[in-house]
Symmetry: D2
Subunit: 361 residues, 4 copies
């Protein structure tokens, strides 16, 4: 039985890890960490856990990475930006594995990080950043198997990258034309008390936010740059427009993506068959990616509370563009579920263990 610690257990992502692990046959949460609620019972803060948590672990403890390293085989950190990098060390990694849901280890270029995350000190050991593996399971599975430190991808990022990856990697689209218009449920905004996230401010409305400035932008750009290398590119990040929108629903991300098709040598453009073949090549055997049949489009509800990413697409012959849409649950595949999927891979468990739940809308 893998012993698990969760830091930030009282945020939405942390609590979701706890929820998923309740029905995981090979893992058990033995440390619930929370700065704000330390001393309270976890099942009091989240009453839906009543009757489902072992009494002896049902207390929220002060965060303490060193203590956790002794007690836990793996630590999930759903903590504020900059927290983990301020206290992680090689010694801790020698004792336990860490799966980080913050952005601390997602961007390989620390200068890019500093630009998009201003105000966060990063005088930490750069070798940890080098060591960290970007935990997008379907893309980096082999590296994840050997990793001690996982940078769990962002929610928008997971959805945006998975939706476009095969087309970039196969050189079918002009990356410079890629536009990602994303829609997110409100749990993505976190559980802190802000007027803008009150029910009466979110309900019955849609708005864009972080236009041209959202922090998931460079993460998508870096990873799709790697994809481009497959197609003969230099591996440098690509440049995109990414616009998130807040939707009056609890969970779910939908990324609608637009890109111009690259002309083939014969002057024609890739058709639906070629596009589908590219998706099949990368995802054909993936358990948690469902490529939809022609004419079908993802709806976030069909992925809610599940680990699945649903992807649909069409070729627009009028405009020579491909329009793609990917959907997932921002708290599951976009955060906690993917973190557990990473854990399964790292511990050589069946990748789908604890994750085979049907969407329940």
């Amino acid at each position: 039985m893998i012993k698990v610690g969760i830091l930030g257990a009282t945020g939405y992502a942390g609590a979701e890890i706890a929820r998923i692990l309740i029905s995981h046959p090979d893992a058990e949460t033995v440390f619930y960490g929370s700065r704000t609620y330390a001393g309270q019972r976890f099942s009091e803060v989240f009453p839906y856990f009543r009757g489902l948590i072992d009494e002896k672990y049902d207390v929220l403890r002060e965060p303490a990475l060193d203590v956790m390293a002794e007690e836990c085989d793996v630590i999930f950190t759903a903590t504020p930006q900059g927290y983990l990098s301020s206290c992680l060390s090689k010694e801790i990694l020698s004792k336990t594995k860490v799966i980080d849901l913050s952005a601390d280890y997602r961007l390989k270029d620390i200068e890019v990080y500093k630009k998009w995350y201003p105000g966060i000190d990063r005088d930490d050991d750069p070798s940890l950043l080098s060591e960290a593996v970007y935990g997008l399971c379907e893309i980096n599975r082999e590296e994840i198997k050997k990793a001690r430190l996982i940078a769990n991808p962002g929610c928008f990022t997971t959805c945006s990258i998975l939706t476009a990856y095969p087309l970039v990697a196969e050189g079918l689209i002009d990356e410079d034309t890629l536009i990602v218009d994303a829609k997110s449920g409100t749990s993505g905004a976190g559980r802190s008390a802000k007027v803008q996230n009150l029910f009466c401010e979110v309900n019955e409305s849609v708005k864009p936010y972080g236009v041209t400035t959202h922090r998931h932008t460079p993460e998508i750009e870096e990873q799709l740059g790697y994809a481009k290398r497959n197609a003969g590119g230099d591996g440098d990040p690509i440049l995109i427009n990414f616009t998130p929108h807040l939707i009056p629903m609890h969970r779910g991300i939908l990324a609608t993506e637009y890109a111009s098709l690259k002309a083939l040598p014969d002057g024609t453009y890739p058709d639906e068959t070629m596009i589908r073949a590219a998706y099949e090549k990368y995802y054909g055997t993936e358990r948690f990616i469902r490529l939809l049949p022609k004419g079908s489009w993802p709806e976030t509800r069909f992925t809610a509370r599940s680990e699945f990413t649903d992807i649909g697409f069409t070729v627009d012959e009028r405009t020579k563009r491909v329009v793609m849409a990917g959907a997932l649950d921002n708290l599951v595949k976009g955060a906690a579920g993917q973190a557990v999927q990473n854990m399964n891979i790292m511990f050589a468990l069946p990748e789908e263990e604890g994750l085979l739940q049907v969407a329940a809308f």
Copy 2:
């Protein structure tokens, strides 16, 4: 492996049975029945099942009780009122078990049934009605173990009865004063296309409906009459006011109940300790009923997508009343989950098998 058939698989309750059984270790759905969608794939009607259903069963078949009796160990019928009683027979029950989610076998007095369900022919074999066991698991567990035919309780009914049962059974309240004010998510209204259930008609509004005339009334009255027998009553139905309300949410029922306390022989009234003791007596060891601590009240979200019923109460010394509130998920404990719990009991499986999911709101 128990072979399961579901009639009415494309309604909300039927689909919920299918969803729960996906992660049930000892049961497998081998027959999805639907009159409306016969011939289509189940995973096309409900795309969230894509990738989770065995190809060879993934087709919706015409309802046929006799065929199902050959292929299935148990049949769940989530069918219109009067359907099952029009075609069920002893011969079928000799081959398979039936758990009925309609009201056909819930009311033991056929005259009461005819009054509340006018227009439905009931010239069926009355011995089947006699044989049927009312499948309220926590109350009728011993009878359910031996049953071939289960009348699965209604959603409002389950919530309303469980919330008041111990206080009636222990004679602590005056049953004639019981008032049940219930609030239900919209999935309770079913999946048929009606203007009144459109998003724009339900969203941002609350309304009462079926005031003094809702069909779950006699079901509550009959069962609480049995509870009263425990307290020395005659077992006749009690008389209550039951008012359901439609709430702009998907799932969940909250029943707020009011009753005057019965004076004790010494002229005082039952206090919170006595009330709590009564609840503990009946539910203290129940896996799926959570009696909340003093000052806590149920919220439907904490039971959503789970089998739990949460109950809270307080004694009002000003008015000499007890105010109780019970919450559950109308599609799970209020329908599909309780049906599976009944199946587990009937097949001598652990009662919680396939049902230990944490609420995911």
Copy 3:
């Protein structure tokens, strides 16, 4: 043109007064007061007012009752409990009228106030409390005409009282059996940043709160006590159970009320005709109360953003009870709209001026 000041203009009720007055032909808001947002533009805090507010008044000013008394003909105070009573004086009332949306002047018995609002100092001039008129327009219209200080009723209170008033006043129901089960949209919880009011905590759930302890209870009890005096009672408050519930919608209150019918001298019970006659007697000519036809029940959406209160009822011959339901918009008739209706009455304007908007759901 009546010059209006609003204190607490950045709460939901204060902003709603501002909204209503934009289309009021005889009133103009000249002072927007807010402690928290002082110095900002009102139309920046609430961007939907952009282009609709006179530039010269479009700034939020520090609260200052004395300044307002000089500049305004009437002041609306949507301020925290205890604020107004801490600074109101006869001198201010000699210069301007005050319509208070807090509870400071609602309860005539200061001891009852102190019990339900503990921790609030009330060493203010008791003659102001004596002078204040309870601003339930349909009941106290004549007194309101002459008033300088209005205690604008609470949202639950307005709905609960209006729904039961005629039946109590005509002695048709046993007041001791009155139970009020109320459901409220989330704007009733105010605009302060609390975790419990976040979208993700409110959405897709229903919960009771303040069970047996909600502060609107004594207000209902006092006013219905006055109604009882009409029927020969002593005018003392009656005792009720009042339970509010939080509903995942923006606006609206529905109060479902239950009471046992009083036997008539001949041993029979009041029938629907008698009940309807009582409602017609009190509300027959009221512009903003709509008594629904038999079989119709109020839905909050039909009153949303309007000044109307819709009331429906039925007599249950089985239980000898009447079940009533009233609906209104908690921010309009339950707060800002009634405040403006009071203003219209106090200034001898047509009562419906600025208030004849159709519900827009």
Copy 4:
């Protein structure tokens, strides 16, 4: 007093016209037409109109254009595609004005119409199509003044065109790169009973639909083609990608639009000042268009139930694109409100009459 007739009064758009006209000082609805509900009272179908409609007009009548032409000064037709063109004639237009909310007269090229609206007969008098004026008030005001027949624009169309119009007309963007990603509340789907529009199918989900095939596409393309003519283009339609999404809210459309900036003669690109100047040039004096300050973005709630269109934008120097977003209420500025605005212009009334309501979210 202008006498108004509404055909299709029981759809969402038709009922919204009725609602707006209740508080219009110079117009009165004297004919409510509905095929489905003919014979019923309008205030029974929509109970929120109770007490607000003149008794003598409160009945739904069978559609009859010739009768209406006699009784009404203007007819609003919120009718199915192809209905109006099947029965409109010059004779009717000689007696009354018609404002059509269907698509019958929106596309000037009948071949384009037939391609996007297959199955609809259009053997009607082509001179009526020639005569019809496209009722986008801010763009075609002068023509509207003289019109007898208005093609009231679609909801997505109004929002999409207004948001991009000045930048196309001033030649600041490369029209071939324009991408419109739109989000709409569910009232846009109409009031007919379809499973896909049930509360439980829409709630808690987002989905794209009509990808590359939505009928508002050619309408946007045609009108922006006219805009391009301003900038020296040929006036032919441009080619865009338009993707609508269904959002779990009642009202509101948000169009997020992306376009590459056109290089200026000196090789630099238009900056925010130039872009803003273009918007100011076209909308600076418009009552119902609010250009937001830098850094502000529209939220649909701030336009809900109002006639306003809010527009925000930013220049992305990294990608050389402009990102724009426009928001409006699909039932008001996107349908009924714009129809009334057209009526005001046609009858030489102040354009804002009856339309100056503040958003009420």
